[in-house]
Every structure is written in C-alpha cells, then in structure tokens.
C-alpha cells in the first residue's frame, strides 16, 4: 500500500503527512502546542471577543426566563422560529466530526487521523450549542424534565409517539457517545502530555485525566477494539440522529414538512455544513499553529470533495422536493412551492439556492479546492446557506399552511439574534480553550502514519 507520507506515481496530490517527521518530532510538536507555546495575544483577544459574544446567550436566556418566550418572533401560526432553526443547524454541524472520526476510520481513510481530534471537539461543542435551544424554546423551561421517563408522582409519562421525545433520546445519546469516543481517544495523548511537562501541577492534572495510561500492549489491544466498536456504533448513530431531527418535520402534516425525502437529505446537509465548519476551523488553525505538516492541502482538498458530493445530494433533495410537490398534485404542497419562489420569503429562498447549490460548484476546479482562502470563503457561504435552508423549511412552511385565514409572517426580534450570536460565541470560546488545553491533533494516531510504525517481518 502507499504510505500516507508518500504519493502515488503520477498523482499530484499533497501527502497526508509532510515527510521528514519522526515519532519524537510529531509528539514534541503537538504536545508543545499545549505545553511550550507561550500565551499569544491573538489567542487572548480571540477568546475574549468570543466570550463577550457568548453573553448574548446568557442575557437572552435570563430575559427569556423572566418574560416568556414571547420576546422572540414566534407566534401563531409560526410556533417555531430561530430556536429550532439554530438547533437543527448546530446538530448538523456536529455530524462532520463523527463522520470523520467514525466512518472514515471504518473506511480506513488514513487522512482522517490528523483532523479527527478537533473535528470531534467541534462535534461536542456544536451539539452543546444545539442542546441549548430545545430547552430555551419551551414555554415553561422549568419543567423540561417532563420529557424524560422518570418515575413521577403523576403516574404519567412522556408521549413516545412524539418526535420531540425521539429527539431527546437521539441527541443525548449522540452527545454521550461522542463525548466518550473523544475522551478515550484523548487518554494516550493525555499520558503523553503528562510525560512531557515539567510543571508538577500540569503533570498531576493530565496524570489524573490519563488515568495512569502506560501504553501496555494489552491495554492497546482492548483500546483498539473499543475504539473500533465505538466507531461502528457511532456510524449508524450519526445517521439516525439527523434522521430523527428530520422526523420533527417529516412526521408533521405541515406542507413543506411532510416529506419522506427529509431523512437522507437532512443527513447529507448535515455533513455538508459540518465539513464546511471543519474547514472554517482547520484553515486558520493550521496557519496560526503552524501545523501545515499535519493538516496538509490534501486534507483541505478531500474535505472540499466531500462538500461537493454532499452538496450535490442536497441539491438533488431540493429538486426532488419541488418535483414531488408538483407531481404529487397536493394543492397545499404545490402552493408552498409557489410561495417559496414568489412569496414574501422568495429572496431568502433564492439566496439559499445560490449559497448552497450554485456557488459551491466552483469546487469542481482543482485550483479552488486547494486554495485555502477560497475554501474558507466557500465554507462560510455553505454555513450560511445551510442555515437558510433550515429557516426556509422551519419558518416559511409554517407561514403558509392549510387555512388561509391563519396565514402569518415571522419577524425575528433582537433576542432571536442575540441567542444565535451567543451560541456562536460560546462555540468559538470552547474551541479556543480546546486548542489551548488539549492536543488538537491525535499524537498516537499520527504516529501510526509514520513508515517507522510498520513492523518489518524478518
């Protein structure tokens, strides 16, 4: 087989791992980012800004609890607004992390090894953001626990026919599994940090987290099995999560929601936006932390190609939806198709098509695929586009449903925006902490990419 550090004959791709590295160099380089690297002003500034933006959530939530969900733009008929849009969007972003760490692992895609760690972190933090919204959007958040089946004095239970209850289980499972997956992956690297540092406090902390990992061959064997099994479990899980999220709509009878195509194209869309976020994070990180050796142009290009593929699936989804609305002959669905193109929200819909479908097509061009600046911009564009898609699905469908007399409009308030921005801030703040405190690239997995890692049989 071809070693990741090398390149096939005639193929002009960048290697997955720049040549000239050894176990020691990789270990020192990555652990150094945490242990040796001084505190840069850039990091402080970035963290401070995102921390400030994060206050949007705190203020927004506080005021919400005081006044009621009416401070948002939601109304009758548009019972769901930004909260659910953001929820779906964040969950979707999370999916790329799991895809990279689990599915690509099963597919033996060696290039995942250098991006899976922070992709998983991204997953966790994104799902954490998503988790904020279902709670906040409740009319009475203080009784959220009624959604869990716990033995209660009412002798009454959640309604397991409701997709929202499925959500509760799917999302919490997803978060838990992602968390443990991420953490056990960290254990050997934590041990490595433990052994690299000179500061006794840091050593103690990482030592505790490493749980006394000593790289025993037996441990490695069990570790590998568990890791592989988790990957095997996370793969159907990640597909199920966005399927369940799409059920929130597909189960409903609202025109524009009630569609069987939702599960596949929600998942595709999720991965689409997820990889966009991966690039948005990877490109600056590899620049500012000088890890171009590990996150090479190859990674960017592969991610770009995944985006291109999933983007096309999403495009197919749109097309199919519109076609079915027309072909199905359901007057309500049909009218919704008309309303999307000509109704008050037409500009949003057209913007969505442009951002999500047309613009990304330039990724067919190789030069764009390998140009970090272009990739960064396109990724941004896709993130916006995917947010718009959720807005169109959630909000616009509700503005034009069955009874004409009950049609309405949705206008987001400052509080809607505050909370959305706030979660973005919280996400960035968490990422800043992550790259500062933990090895952002999996040391041991990167080591296995080196030619020396091979055992030569005599």
């Amino acid at each position: 087989m071809v070693r990741p550090t090398e390149v096939e004959e005639g193929e002009d791709k960048a290697p997955v791992l720049a040549p000239g590295h050894s176990f020691a160099s990789i270990t020192d380089k990555i652990s150094g980012l945490v242990l040796k690297r001084p505190l840069h002003l850039g990091w402080v500034a970035g963290f401070f800004v995102s921390f400030m933006v994060m206050q949007g959530v705190l203020f927004g939530a506080t005021y919400l609890f005081v006044k009621g969900v009416g401070i948002w733009g939601v109304n009758i008929p548009i019972g769901w607004g930004f909260a659910i849009v953001n929820f779906v969007w964040w969950i979707g972003i999370g999916h790329a992390g799991t895809l990279i760490s689990a599915i690509l692992l099963l597919l033996r895609q060696s290039w995942r090894n250098s991006i899976n760690r922070f992709a998983e972190a991204m997953t966790l933090f994104a799902v954490a953001q998503a988790g904020v919204f279902p709670l906040l959007h409740l009319g009475r958040p203080w009784v959220f626990y009624w959604l869990f089946p716990y033995p209660n004095t009412m002798g009454y239970w959640p309604n397991f026919r409701s997709p929202l209850v499925w959500d509760v289980f799917a999302v919490s499972t997803y978060f838990t599994i992602s968390l443990v997956f991420w953490f056990i992956g960290l254990i050997p690297d934590l041990a490595s940090l433990r052994d690299r540092t000179d500061n006794s406090f840091i050593r103690f902390t990482y030592g505790m987290l490493a749980m006394g990992w000593r790289g025993s061959a037996r441990h490695w064997a069990r570790f590998e099995t568990a890791y592989l099994l988790l990957a095997g479990l996370a793969t159907p899980l990640v597909l199920s999560v966005h399927t369940v999220v799409s059920f929130d709509f597909a189960i409903g009878i609202v025109p524009g929601w009630h569609t069987t195509i939702f599960p596949p194209y929600f998942v595709a869309g999720a991965i689409y936006s997820g990889f966009a976020m991966v690039l948005v994070l990877a490109i600056p990180i590899r620049k500012f932390y000088g890890v171009k050796d590990f996150i090479t142009d190859r990674h960017l290009e592969n991610s770009a190609m995944v985006m291109l593929a999933t983007g096309l699936i999403v495009a197919y989804g749109y097309g199919m939806e519109a076609f079915m609305n027309w072909y199905g002959g359901n007057p309500y669905e049909n009218y919704l198709r008309w309303a999307r193109l000509h109704g008050p929200y037409a500009p949003w819909y057209l913007a969505l098509l442009f951002f999500n479908i047309f613009l990304p097509q330039i990724l067919w061009i190789r030069r764009i695929r390998t140009n970090p600046v272009w990739l960064f911009l396109i990724s941004m564009d896709v993130l916006v586009g995917m947010w718009l898609e959720r807005f169109i699905i959630v909000v616009v469908s509700l503005t034009r449903d069955f009874t004409n007399s009950a049609w309405g409009m949705y206008y987001p308030t400052r509080w809607d925006w505050a909370v959305l921005m706030g979660t973005l801030g919280m996400f960035c703040a968490l990422m800043f902490l992550f790259v500062r405190l933990l090895p952002m690239i999996s040391i041991f997995e990167l080591n296995t990419l080196l030619p020396e890692a091979e055992v030569k049989h005599k």
Partner: protein
C-alpha cells in the same frame, strides 16, 4: 542485607520491530508474565506477548441487547400497562413509533459498555504503577518501546533475566523497583 524486592526487569527498544521481535523471543523462551509498552497500538506486539483475545466485544454485544430490550419494553409497558391513553386515535402499542427510541437506547448502552468495559478490563484508572518508577519509561509515550518481565514470573531471576534481555539487543535495561 537483601536487595529490595523488585517488580520486574525492563528492556528498552528503539523501533516497533525490535520490541516485537524481542517480545516474541521472550515468549518463546517460556516467559509468561511479561508485558510490552509502546507509544501507539501495535497489533503484532499484543500477539507477541501472547495476548490474543479480549472481552470488550462481548461486553458491548450484551450491553447493546440489554439497551434494545430495555428501550422497547419501557415504551411498551408505559403505553399498554402503566397508563394507556388515546393519542390521536393511535392504539396503545403503536410499536412503529417506538423504534427510534429503541434504536438509540441500543446504541447508548452498547457504546457505554464498550468504553467502561475497556476501562475496567484494563484496570484503569491506575495512576500508580511500578513501571513509572523507571525514569526513562516516560519516553513510552514518545518514541521508545519497552518490554518488561515481571518478577512474579516463575522463570524470573534477576541475573538470568537481565542477561536474557541483553541478549535481545535492548538499548538499555533497568530494574523496576516495586
């Protein structure tokens, strides 16, 4: 005075190949209570020290089955036994609606059993371990590979074992104080 009872004899190697070969030799030499240490997983190494199968997979399977049954039974019991209510004209046991949760419970239980199974079988957390007493052992998480023959091994003998390990071409050999 008698020397301190020692935990084992540790040999250090530079490359995966070396340690794997050494390990194989050690086992061939009839040592059974040995262990090898490496910065990253090396399948051959586990094989070499005679560690062939682990129970993680089985535990995971059991966990998954428990999760699946538990998940479905919970919903079935709630909707047919505990408090059957007429929801939108659906029958109490509308099982198709129970599948998603059942599935998620399966994954959750399987996943957690995999993780905790692994940790328990590995005896983690174990912050203290004699091998850490060897100063150079900290390189095990960097670029060095170690082979240890425990003093509990019936064939263990401070002198002989050290000689044996030297014979394996170890970079350095050190006693692991207990």
């Amino acid at each position: 005075m008698r020397p301190e009872p020692i935990f084992g004899m540790m040999a250090e190697f530079d490359t995966p190949t070396d340690v794997v070969v050494a390990a194989q030799r050690t086992t061939e030499a009839g040592y059974i209570r040995i262990d090898a240490y490496s910065p990253f997983p090396i399948e051959e190494l586990a094989e070499a020290i005679g560690f062939h199968k682990n129970g993680v997979a089985l535990i995971t399977l059991i966990g998954g089955i428990l999760g699946m049954c538990g998940g479905f039974m919970l919903q079935w019991w709630i909707n047919t036994i505990s408090y059957p209510v007429n929801i939108g004209g659906r029958p109490p046991n509308s099982w198709p609606a129970f599948i998603p949760v059942t599935f998620e419970m399966t994954i959750l239980f399987a996943g957690l059993s995999a993780v905790f199974g692994m940790l328990v079988l590995n005896g983690l957390p174990m912050p203290y371990h004699p091998v850490f007493n060897v100063p150079r052992f900290e390189l095990v998480t960097k670029d060095k590979f170690f082979l240890v023959i425990f003093s509990s091994d019936p064939r263990f003998d401070t002198i002989k074992t050290r000689a044996f390990l030297e014979g394996l071409g170890a970079k350095s050999i050190s006693e692991v104080p207990s």
